[in-house]
């Protein structure tokens, strides 16, 4: 009984405390702004197609296309869906028809991702975290604060527990995402993945020689990756760092200090930038989701006071 009470107290303490309604509303707005860039970056290749060109019959339809019987691509439709996706994201940021907008975003992502991944059967996982976040936003009352909807309807104020659980679940999901990646590596490849002469070294070499050589035998690109590949001792240190941060990511949920959290996440951002530059592993834009680890109220206030003034014209010049 005492154990159950302890779990219940821990559960309530974790999921139902820590954030205000204002934090949730601001998070919806800022994540929405990040999504505007993310969508474009992810679906840019689909937008290079000829909208009135031929219908491509997919080589390997994604599982839900298979289920729904979708076997070819209507190019013009992708452009329409993309426009709808961007509009719905703007509505989500503004908080206009918030829940419906989020639902539209989810459906549009399913469609465009399905199209992109069905052409040749390669499934990419960059949308998994944003999709989970959108699902949790959808279930929450995020549209009732800092929104157009709240100007017209009289919503009861959000209590701390109502604002906290979606954000805490998002935090937990992101932490688990990194943690699972260690489990997956060990399950498939064993601890050898993390050795100095393991997977990291292999990717470094491959990505450096794939652009070819000059007539003098010099690498055309990525010479830094090549140099690094020849230092297994250094790679060993980096791979242990990767292991430590992926395994230890869930600890961020218990770090109270904002500075310490920011320091940890800066390290993760450096990791993503480095793996993009050195190994062409493209999770470059994903760090925008780390906003969930901060209370955005003081950040928003600071931006309103300090950053907005750069956009205002000085009075003397306006006259």
């Amino acid at each position: 009984m005492a154990f159950c009470n302890l779990i219940s107290r821990g559960w309530n303490q974790f999921f139902f405390t820590g954030f205000s309604g204002e934090s949730l509303g601001l998070l919806r707005m800022y994540i929405g702004c990040g999504l505007l860039f993310f969508h474009t970056y992810q679906f840019a290749t689909v937008l290079t197609l000829n909208p009135i060109g031929t219908r491509n019959y997919f080589l390997d339809p994604i599982w839900y296309f298979h289920l729904l019987g979708i076997q070819y691509h209507i190019p013009a439709l992708s452009f329409i869906v993309y426009a709808l996706l961007m509009s719905a994201t703007v509505w989500m940021i503004m908080g206009k028809w918030t829940r419906a907008s989020i639902l539209v975003i989810i459906l549009c992502i399913f469609y465009l991702k399905g199209v992109r991944d069905s052409f040749s059967g390669d499934v990419h996982h960059r949308y998994i975290i944003p999709m989970q976040m959108l699902f949790l936003f959808l279930l929450s009352r995020c549209g009732e604060v800092h929104s157009r909807d709240s100007r017209h309807g009289a919503y009861p104020p959000l209590q701390e527990w109502e604002a906290s659980w979606p954000i805490k679940m998002m935090q937990l999901y992101v932490a688990l995402f990194y943690f699972w990646s260690v489990i997956a590596k060990v399950r498939i490849s064993g601890w050898e993945w993390f050795s100095g002469e393991g997977r990291i070294q292999e990717v470094l070499i491959k990505r450096s020689v794939r652009w070819g050589m000059t007539s003098e035998g010099e690498l055309v690109k990525n010479s830094l990756s090549f140099e690094l590949a020849q230092r297994p001792d250094l790679i060993q240190i980096f791979s242990h760092l990767v292991l430590a941060f992926e395994l230890g990511f869930p600890l961020i949920l218990f770090i109270q200090s904002v500075k310490l959290r920011a320091f940890f996440l800066s390290g993760v951002i450096i990791f993503h930038i480095s793996s993009f530059v050195l190994m062409d592993v493209n999770f470059l834009l994903i760090p925008f989701v780390y906003l969930i680890f901060f209370d955005l109220v003081p950040i928003h206030q600071w931006l309103r006071i300090h950053a907005w003034r750069f956009f205002k014209r000085p009075r003397s010049m306006a006259r």
């Binding site: 559960w11 031929t54 040749s120 998994i128 659980w165 699972w180 997956a184 498939i188 490849s189 794939r210």
Partner: protein
């Protein structure tokens, strides 16, 4: 929603996402394998040589009437990165990385859950048949059509290095290998044609 409903919802959510990890479910938006996880030690490293002109022309095809031609990314109206995968991988029978991840070390529990034998792969796709399907269907060609594609060819060069040489900084010791593949249409596939790939 009441606090109790939210708690129930969170428990269900956690069971679902952890269930995906335990049972190796990799269907968007669920996953058990977020990032690059496969590592199989090899002594050689091979990289494709990009031949822009050849790639721009596309896949060499032979029609039922004996004429030949090329099918490019523009003809198929697919993004270039996707066409690259058709050109360099699928036609050679190479599956996407996610299939490989899904097939490796499945474990007794996951084999049993899916009713698979010990060495039976979880994902197995007949890429040859699918190549004919995607090319012909996209170009609106039916099996009786004289322009129906009955043969597809792809060829590219590969630079093969010994890992040990590269680790010494020696980029000069390289073997050039030409990879060519020719796939032919089989009339036994006709019943499949009606059914499609779904």
């Amino acid at each position: 929603m009441s606090k109790r409903t939210v708690t129930l919802l969170l428990v269900l959510y956690l069971i679902t996402i952890w269930g995906a990890v335990i049972f190796r479910i990799d269907y968007f938006p669920l996953t058990w394998v977020p990032m690059y996880s496969v590592y199989e030690p090899r002594e050689t490293i091979s990289v494709k040589v990009w031949d822009k002109d050849q790639y721009r022309k596309g896949l060499k095809v032979t029609h039922r009437d004996g004429s030949t031609g090329y099918v490019s990314s523009k003809d198929l109206n697919v993004p270039k990165p996707n066409f690259r995968r058709l050109y360099y991988s699928r036609i050679f029978g190479t599956a996407p990385p996610k299939h490989k991840q899904g097939n490796i070390e499945l474990g007794t529990l996951n084999q049993w859950v899916r009713g698979l034998e010990e060495d039976e792969p979880r994902f197995e796709v007949d890429w040859e048949w699918r190549m004919f399907w995607t090319l012909n269907k996209t170009l609106r060609l039916e099996p009786g059509d004289p322009k129906f594609i009955t043969r597809i060819e792809s060829s590219h060069q590969k630079q093969v290095y010994k890992k040990a040489d590269l680790l010494k900084g020696d980029t000069h010791k390289v073997k050039i290998q030409t990879n060519t593949v020719v796939i032919e249409w089989h009339d036994e596939w006709l019943p499949r044609w009606e059914h499609g790939i779904l």
